[in-house]
C-alpha cells in the first residue's frame, strides 16, 4: 500500500484525480466519441469556473476574507459583455475575422475593466470596515450580492438576455467522429492561458513572491515593511476582473443569461473552492476541472443524479481530506 502511495505521489498525487475520473468514465461510457466530446465540454466548463473561482480563493488565502458577493462580479461581467456584444452586433456577424476579434476583445475588455472598478469599490467600501470579523463579513457581502443582483434586474430586466457570439466561434470542428464545439475549445485555451499567466506571476515574479508569502504569513510580510493592504486591494481587483471575465465567457457559452446567473454559479464556485482547498490556485484549478468533468459525465450517465453530483463530490472529498485537495500551506 505504501509503495502504491509513493508511486502515485511521484506521478502527481491528487493531480491524477481528473485523469482517473476520465479513465473510469471512459470505461463506463463505452463510446469513445461521446467520451471525447464530454471530456472537452467538461474541461471547457472547468476552465471557465476556474476563472470565476481563482480570485475568491486567493483573496481568502491572502487576507482571510471570504467574499460571498464574489458571484456579483460574475453576473456583472456576463451582462456587460453581453451588452457590448449586442451593441456591436454588426461586427459579430461580419465575415471579417478582425472585426469579430475586435468585438470579442471589446466585450471581454469592458467586462474586465468593470470587474476591476467594481472590485476596488467592493474592497474599499464594503469589505474594509469588517476585516477580521467573519460573521459580519459574510452578512455584508451577502447583502451586497443581493443589491448587485437587484441592480442587474433593474437595469437589464428579468427576461432572459440572449448573447451574441462572434461568427468565428460558432460551429464545431470534427476530428474522426469526435465533434468539438469551437467555443468550448476557445474557452479551454483561454482558461489555460490565464492559468499559465497566474502561475507565472505567482511563482516567477517578485509580486507573486510577496503574495505567496502573504498567504503563508501575513504578519511577517507586514513586519518586513511591505504594504500588504495595497497588495490585497490589487489581488482583490484582479480576482474580480477574472471573475468578470469568467462570467463573460460563461455568457457566451450559455447564450441565454438571467440575473440569477450569479447566484447559480456561486454554489458551483464555492464547491470548487472547497474541494480545491482555500487559498491555492492549483487547488482551485484541480477542483474546477473535477467539477466540470463530473457534471458532464454524470449528466450523460445518470441525468437524474447530475444535480446532486457536485454535492456528492464535495462530500466525498471532504470526508477524505477535510481541508480540500490542495490547501495553501498555512
Amino acid at each position: 500500500m505504501d509503495k502504491l502511495n509513493e508511486t502515485i505521489d511521484r506521478l502527481g498525487g491528487v493531480y491524477l484525480l481528473p485523469v482517473a475520473v476520465a479513465a473510469v468514465c471512459f470505461v463506463l461510457i463505452g463510446a469513445p466519441s461521446s467520451w471525447a466530446t464530454l471530456t472537452v465540454a467538461g474541461l471547457a466548463m472547468g476552465m471557465m469556473i476556474f476563472l470565476m473561482a481563482s480570485g475568491l480563493s486567493l483573496v481568502f488565502g491572502l487576507m482571510d476574507v471570504l467574499n460571498f458577493g464574489h458571484s456579483a462580479f460574475v453576473s456583472l461581467g456576463a451582462f456587460i459583455a453581453a451588452s457590448v456584444l449586442a451593441s456591436l452586433g454588426g461586427w459579430l456577424g461580419s465575415p471579417s475575422l478582425m472585426l469579430n476579434i475586435a468585438a470579442l476583445v471589446a466585450a471581454f475588455g469592458a467586462a474586465m475593466v468593470f470587474g476591476l472598478i467594481a472590485g476596488w469599490f467592493f474592497e474599499t467600501v464594503i469589505i474594509k470596515p469588517v476585516y477580521s470579523d467573519h460573521l459580519r463579513q459574510i452578512l455584508i457581502t451577502m447583502g451586497a450580492l443581493i443589491v448587485v443582483e437587484e441592480l442587474i434586474l433593474a437595469i437589464w430586466g428579468g427576461t432572459p438576455f440572449s448573447v451574441g457570439r462572434p461568427a468565428f466561434l460558432e460551429g464545431a470542428f470534427v476530428i474522426g467522429d469526435v465533434t468539438i464545439e469551437i467555443y468550448r475549445f476557445f474557452a479551454f485555451m483561454l482558461g489555460l492561458i490565464v492559468y499559465a499567466g497566474l502561475y507565472w506571476v505567482l511563482n516567477r515574479t517578485r509580486l507573486g513572491l510577496l503574495i505567496r508569502a502573504g498567504v503563508e504569513n501575513r504578519e511577517m510580510v507586514e513586519a518586513l515593511g511591505f504594504r500588504i493592504d495595497r497588495l490585497f486591494i490589487g489581488v482583490f481587483m484582479a480576482g474580480s476582473a477574472l471573475a468578470a471575465l469568467g462570467g463573460a465567457m460563461w455568457a457566451g457559452y450559455e447564450t441565454l443569461i438571467t440575473p440569477h446567473l450569479g447566484a447559480d454559479m456561486m454554489i458551483v464556485v464555492f464547491i470548487v473552492v472547497i474541494i480545491g482547498g482555500l487559498g491555492s490556485v492549483q487547488g482551485t484549478l484541480l477542483g474546477a476541472i473535477m467539477v466540470g468533468l463530473m457534471s458532464n459525465y454524470v449528466g450523460f450517465l445518470a441525468p437524474k443524479l447530475s444535480l446532486a453530483s457536485n454535492m456528492l463530490l464535495m462530500m466525498v472529498i471532504l470526508l477524505w481530506r477535510p481541508n480540500g485537495l490542495k490547501p495553501a500551506v498555512k
Binding site: H134, G143, P322, N323
Partner: protein
Amino acid sequence: MKNQTSPIVKLAVLAIAAALLFWPFLFQDVRSIQVAARICVFIVLVASYDLLIGYTGIVSFAHTMFFGFGSYGAAIALDRMGAGWTPVLLGGLAGVAVSLVVAVAVGLLSLRVKAIFFAMITLAAASVALVLASQLSGLTGGEDGITYRAPDLFKPATKLLVDEEGKVASLFGVRLNGKLAAYYFVFVSSLVLFLAMLRLVASPIGTVLKAIRENEARAEAIGYRVVAYRTFVFCIAAVIASLAGTVYAVWLKYTGPETALSFDIMIDILLMVVIGGMGTMWGAVIGATLMVLAQYYLRDLMGSASEALAGLPVLPDILSPDRWLLWLGIVFILLVYFFPKGIAGTLSARGKGA
C-alpha cells in the same frame, strides 16, 4: 459581565405577544390574520436561527431547508393520507427525522473544519434541496407545490361554539369558527416552541454556547467539546425550524418552493435576525414582527407612492414594489455596519450606558 436586556425591549416584546394573542379580535380581515400567523411562525424560525448565529456564532444558510423539510413532510402526508391529525403528526415527525439526519451529517462533516466552510456547505446543501424539490415533482408537486386540506377542526365552516339558533357563536363580534382555531393553533405552537428556546438559552447549555461564540479555543480548553455542542445546537435549531415549517404548512394549506424553500425566505430570516439583534431571543420577536409588517404593508405603501408619483422622472421607478429587495439589501448592509447589535442590542446597550 452580564448582558442585561433593557426593560423597553421586554415591554415591546410583551406588547407584541399581547397583540398577537388578541389579534383576531382586534383586526378581523383575512389578510391581517394571515400577517399575524406569519409573524408567529417567523418568530420561531428567527429565534431558532438566532440560536446558531447569535448564540453560537455559526452562520448557516440552510435554515430554510429545514423549514422546508417540515413543511413538505406535513404537506405530503396531508396530500396522500387526506385531512386529519395523524398525517400532520406523521408528516411533522418525518420532517423532524429528515432534518435531524441531514443536520447531523452536515454538522459532523463541516463543523469540525473552518466556520466559513460551514456557511458555504450549508448554502450548497440548501440549493440542492431547492432544486430537488422542484425536480421531484411526483412527490413534491414541483414548482406548483401541493395544495391540500387541513384537519377538519380548522375548516372555516367548523363551529367551535354554537348559540341557541345553531349558528356559530360570536365573542366580541368575532365568530368562533375553524379559522380562529387554526390561528390559535399557530399561536400556541409558536409560543411553546419559543418558550422552549428561551429555556434552552437560560440553561447551562446556553452559557456554554455563548462561551464558544466568544472564545472557541478557551471553551475547548476548559473542557467543553466544541464540535459536539455545535452539532447539538445545529440539530436543535434544525428540529425547531422543521416544526415551524409543519405548523406553517398546516396553516397555509399550501406548500411550494416559494413558501417553504426559496432563498428569499433565508434572506428574510437573516434580515429579521439582524434587525432585531443577534444573540437575544427578544430581538427575534422584534425583528420578525417589524419585517413581516413591513413586507405586507410597506410594500403596498411603496406601490401606491410609486403610482402617485407616476408623472415624475426617476422616483416611481425607485419606489416601485419590484425594487423592494434592492432596498432591503441596502438597509441590511447599513444595519450590519452601524447597528450590528440590532434594535434589541442597541436599546439594551444604551440603557446600560445611561
